[in-house]
Amino acid sequence: MVADTSDEAVAAAKELQKQTGTGWWVVKAQIHAGGRGKGGGVKLAKTLDKVKEKAGAIIGMQLITPQTGPQGKKVNKVLIAQDVYYPGPNKTAEFYMSVLLNRQTGRNIIMYSTEGGMDIEEVAAHTPEKIFKEEVDPKVGLQGFQTRKIAFNLGLSGNAFKEMTKFVAALYAAYINSDSSMFEINPVLKTSDDKIIAVDAKVNLDDNALFRHADYAAMRDKTEEDPTEVEASEHDLNYVKLDGNVGCMVNGAGLAMATMDIIKLAGGEPANFLDVGGTANAARVEKAFRIILKDPNVKAILVNIFGGIVRCDRVAQGIVDAYKSIGEIPVPIIVRLQGTNADEAKKIIDQSGLKVFSAILLKEAADLVAKVIK
């Protein structure tokens, strides 16, 4: 149960007690990053007073984990969960399990390990023999012998074995039916009474399949995302914010990454990834400029367009129009237009009277970047 305030957290804890009889609760920060326990975002509470206290402390905190970066992420919600590590007839055990695409074979695999609750990359580095992989044949889907093999390899027997085979089958079905690109359950817990439970889960959805799942849009929590990235996506611009000082605007993802690399080689650091796509018209160029300029670290902007179907002279006119519409752009802009009508484009830029450096070759653009950031 998810709570926005410490009072809601207590109410949730009471409800959970009614449903499950639990006397201990776990309060978990809800942010889009892993390693929350390490940053103090997961706490055990043994009384309702403690639930209130811990939830109060976690909500509103700036949680720093190995995945959030040094600035951390603000916690707006907590999850109140039953404490599943309760005592019982048998010992508890933790496992690791994920479902993902094996890009080499083009098939899904279930990856699992007896080493649950740990960083799986560490396990892979030090004890690779403890990681197992089970590939699923897409013609027939996951089979019973495969779920049994997994449960045996995890060293289970009796009721826990049966529960695990059911767990694996249900997990794989959920992965397929949700059009996910990655499930990671770490840990998968065998409780002291031999139930199998997912204690923590990370799910990546396949963006390309969202059209089949209209309900997912309602679950999107934009407060967890960079506001500029959200704004860019609403305008169909593919923007990823980075930490550098040179912004860039490029058509095509591969060329955009290559342009970031050029900036670095010229002595700068890329401030963003931005693919304006195939239709770099004035309106999109203006929006892209406005988005890049929201980042106060940006000291220069490199526009790199390879005109194919898109004509460079039109893009150049778009840049001039956008520039005039925005008014004063406080940082130097380097425009590199190559391809269809590149020479006309350079003329338009050069004659516009704008404080814009223009280039045709990628090399010239790189040299200009180095010059302006000195």
Partner: protein, 293 residues
């Protein structure tokens, strides 16, 4: 000779009468590509761009003898379109469509396993044999005929590389855009193999990006079997881990799929790796000179 397509290839367009299909089919025809017709279910029997429209790929193959298909069908139906082409006996399917769900592509790839069909893409700019045949969305004028083969995951970066090669005084035999999705059918290695076996290609430009292991696999194959010089570039040296860079497949998932790791393996396998995408053209020309001398 060149690879995959030439002036004798007979091409049909799937999604012929749509906006994208119409625009790019027109461009392909202007380039001199032998477009023999197209497929739009429900519009069979009509004419579009002076060419016949068919309801099914099977009809189109029967009537025109087409052996190549280019797919502009929207993502939700593109997987289906690719399988229809394979079923109809099309030898080469070029899937331009961006945004096909991975689950659909898993099925498509499985379906193609026992078919005699090569798929390029999806989410790719297509294939062009300079001066002969353009089956894609690339600006044709950039690709002047010559002896350099290009294989790349990216669209505009392919044009950039081709432009540099031409400006450096060489030309292109065939350029293959293999696509930027997590599942693409023709791999970097397969494209490199085609060029190694092509008498009209003397050297290869291999352009990759972060994510996956296609470039490393190709590099290892080249080390064992390569007979022609290869110049390589990996885009995304500055990309942060865990973030998707535009292409669905361009995400660093572990230590092995960073640009640095890929470039290291490529160097170890004898590929001339450039750090700057601005020097691809001059480097391949230099490399070629050394071979000749």
């Amino acid at each position: 000779m060149s690879v995959l397509v030439n002036k004798n290839s007979k091409i049909i367009v799937q999604g012929f009468t749509g906006t994208e299909g119409t625009f790019h089919a027109t461009q392909m025809i202007e380039y001199g590509t032998n477009v023999v017709g197209g497929v739009t279910p429900g519009k069979g029997g009509s004419k579009h761009l002076d060419r016949p429209v068919f309801n099914t790929v099977a009809d189109a193959v029967k009537q025109t003898g087409a052996d190549v298909s280019i797919v502009f069908v929207p993502p939700a139906f593109a997987g289906d379109a690719i399988m229809e082409a394979a079923e109809a006996g099309i030898k080469l399917v070029v899937a331009i469509t961006e945004g096909i769900p991975t689950k659909d592509m898993i099925q498509v790839r499985e379906y193609l396993r026992d078919k005699n069909t090569r798929l390029i893409g999806p989410n790719c700019p297509g294939v062009i044999t300079a001066g002969e045949c353009k089956v894609g969305i690339m600006p044709g004028f950039v690709f002047k005929a010559g002896k350099i083969g290009i294989v790349s995951k990216s669209g505009t970066l392919t044009y950039e590389a081709a432009d540099q090669v031409v400006k450096a005084g060489a030309g292109i035999s065939t350029a293959i855009g293999i696509g930027g999705d997590p599942i693409i059918a023709t791999t970097t290695q397969e494209a490199v193999e085609l060029f190694m076996n092509d008498p009209d290609t003397e050297a290869i430009v291999m352009i990759g990006e972060i994510g996956g292991s296609l470039e490393a696999e190709a590099a290892r194959w080249i080390k064992q079997n390569g007979t022609k010089p290869v110049v390589g570039f990996i885009a995304g040296q500055t990309a942060p881990p865990g973030r998707r860079m535009g292409h669905a497949g361009a995400i660093i998932g572990g230590a092995d799929d960073t640009a640095a790791a890929k470039m290291k393996i490529m160097r170890e396998c004898g590929i001339t790796v450039v750090e700057s995408p601005a020097v691809i053209g001059e480097t391949i020309v230099e490399v070629l000179k050394k071979v000749v001398a």
